[in-house]
Symmetry: C2
DNA sequence: GTTGATGTAACCGTGGCTGTTACATTCGTC
DNA sequence: GACGAATGTAACAGCCACGGTTACATCAAC
């Protein structure tokens, strides 16, 4: 299975929402394109909603839509939201603190990895949802066939 | 437990080797400081050896040492070796190819994530093992007590 | 009130990774 | 040449994270 699909899933569904340009989509419709379970999408949407990226309505005929213009949402932001800097320990059992190296290396590593992660996020910050949508649309010629059945109505 | 300690373990043991300045260390001694099992260290050393970072001797009185100067080994290189770009799928089941977005987004994401990873590695490339060792040594005042018993002889 | 949607808790199954054991192999030392 | 100490590697166990799934309360439009 794939590791940490959170970010990929998020970008995927946000791109779908961007493509729909304001028209709300249901979690089922989004799930159909992402190829996963609607609840997985709803969990993600809840996170994105709390972060102010999307708005989701409740009740019948509801759905989700972007809260901002696609050109104002960067992948860096999406990454920060979906993959928050984990405070997970670097070592399963921690290094041996009674050794010179072991005693100090954790802090050094955390600092260095932090700066690297910042570079990663900055690189992602160069792309907006609008960019992604444009790139996706470029390859539109090669679509094998239109999406079918019930999914066709929404995706 | 901590995720993917490979990189942290590698930097840790390489820093130890750098600290020893050419004197070979056994996997047991390294394991004592990293706080893990010698076999885990040996697995890592095998990878680092294949990549030309360390040399490991066999037989009694053997051990491992750096193959290059600590100032010529960057963390970017270590990262690339220990965490090779996984060809793991971005999606557990793949996106729905019959949808415009689903059909094209994977390639777009791979490209973008690739450039972000490059930025990450480049940031790590700014640090060498010598830098790490220097930073670790800076905090040397705060060592609680010298490492004890058999581990003291080697670490 | 019915219908169709969300939000969320709870649980299962799988996969990956560390840790561990076991064993063949290799080299220095006596 | 035998012994001891170390590596290299395969095989397995245990654990944990995460995606997938079910279930259900809630909410809004009609």
């Amino acid at each position: 299975m794939a590791a940490n699909c959170q970010f990929a899933f998020a970008v995927h569904l946000l791109t779908l929402l961007a493509h729909k340009a304001g028209e709300p989509m249901t979690s089922s419709a989004l799930a159909a394109s992402v190829n996963t379970h609607p609840v997985v999408i709803r969990r993600l949407l809840a996170t994105l909603s709390r972060a102010g990226i999307v708005v989701t309505g409740k009740g019948s005929q509801a759905g989700s839509r972007l809260q901002r213009s696609p050109s104002e949402i960067t992948l860096g932001e999406v990454f920060r939201i979906t993959m928050p800097a984990s405070s997970a320990a670097l070592y399963p059992h921690g290094p041996n603190k009674r050794c010179l190296i072991g005693h100090n290396i954790e802090g050094v590593l955390i600092t260095i990895l932090g700066s690297a992660r910042a570079a990663f996020e900055e690189a992602l910050g160069n792309y907006t949802l609008a960019d992604v949508l444009a790139r996706v649309a470029e390859g539109a010629d090669e679509i094998p066939k239109p999406i079918s059945s019930k999914a066709a109505a929404s995706a």
